[in-house]
């Protein structure tokens, strides 16, 4: 199990998720999320127990992207490792762009994904942002994002 393989798998996972978010395709997106799902930002931490609980967040992000004319939502893997043969922990940087213009500064993120029955799903996600003060707006990118470690005990 090479780190390069982990990076490639995580990149493919993120690309598929980004396409689903841009297309507001919740069914496609939630195929890749496991529950309970832990979502951590710079100023919050929440546990979601079902897709029903997380759907409002998904559609809020999707509406924010579409409402601001985002043409692409690119998440580029920086590093990834296999924690075991069915678990990958990785970091990436998110770029939110309209054509060639950045709508918000790039921000870091981290996640743990697990493979079960041949399908990778995210169980923990950490974002270097604060939730927007108003629904359907872009998140606020932290000045100096500090991603929380995801220990195996989490």
């Amino acid at each position: 199990m090479r780190d390069e393989d982990a990076k490639a798998l995580l990149q493919e996972f993120l690309d598929q998720g980004a396409a689903a978010i841009l297309a507001s395709d919740a069914d496609e997106f939630f195929k890749r999320v496991s529950f309970p799902h832990i979502l951590i930002t710079e100023d919050s931490e929440a546990v979601y127990h079902s897709a029903t609980e997380l759907r409002p967040q998904f559609f809020s992000v999707s509406r924010a992207l579409r409402g601001n004319g985002v043409t692409d939502y690119l998440r580029i893997v920086a590093s990834a490792v296999f924690e075991d043969e069915n678990t990958i922990l990785g970091d990436w940087v998110t770029h939110v762009i309209r054509h060639s213009h950045r709508l918000i500064p790039p921000y870091p993120a981290r996640a743990r994904i697990h493979c079960k029955d041949g399908l990778w799903k995210v169980s923990h996600a950490v974002y270097g942002i604060k939730f927007p003060p108003i629904a359907d707006c872009f998140p606020v990118v932290a000045d100096r994002p500090h991603l929380r470690d995801l220990n195996l005990m989490d």
Partner: protein, 156 residues
């Protein structure tokens, strides 16, 4: 003080926007001349801003033709050299449409030179074939080949 990577990324972002919005004066004014652009299978030298404008125009048309709706370049690494008058960096180019890669992302090596307070592009080498991504202007390549053929004939 900005890091080499920050300066490099700022330059990449500004140029990507200028190419997208066809701000040819911005593009041609951000380079030094002569200037060389290379791919895996070819190279073109630009002797003046007009050459650069023609190349950038052809590249922008190529982006439109393949249906791109975003063009992004992201710095992977960059370092100062020559007493901080040069930045040598590596970046990845993304040509996208709705979350999909229209061209597989490819790596580039680029040099910036500090001239009169401005960072100017001083040459780029893209690790991609021009058949896969039309970075080099087909019109300029054709003229170059014709000119080289002329030289051969003259030499013969």
């Amino acid at each position: 003080m900005s890091t080499a990577a920050e300066l490099y990324q700022t330059w990449l972002d500004r140029m990507a926007e200028a190419i997208w919005w066809r701000e040819w004066d911005v593009v041609s004014g951000a380079m030094i001349y002569p200037h060389k652009m290379e791919t895996k299978d070819g190279e073109i030298a630009f002797h003046n801003p007009d050459d650069m404008v023609e190349a950038a125009t052809d590249f922008r048309e190529y982006l439109g033709r393949i249906g791109a709706n975003a063009y992004l370049r992201v710095c992977n690494s960059a370092d100062f050299a020559d007493e901080m008058q040069t930045i040598r960096g590596v970046h990845t180019t993304y040509i996208l449409r709705g979350g999909s890669y229209l061209v597989p992302p490819f790596s580039n090596q680029m040099t910036l030179t500090h001239v009169d307070g401005l960072w100017l592009g001083a040459g780029i080498r893209a690790a991609v074939s021009n058949h896969l991504c039309s970075i080099l202007s087909p019109n300029q390549l054709r003229r170059k080949q014709l000119a080289e053929g002329h030289d051969i004939i003259k030499e013969g």
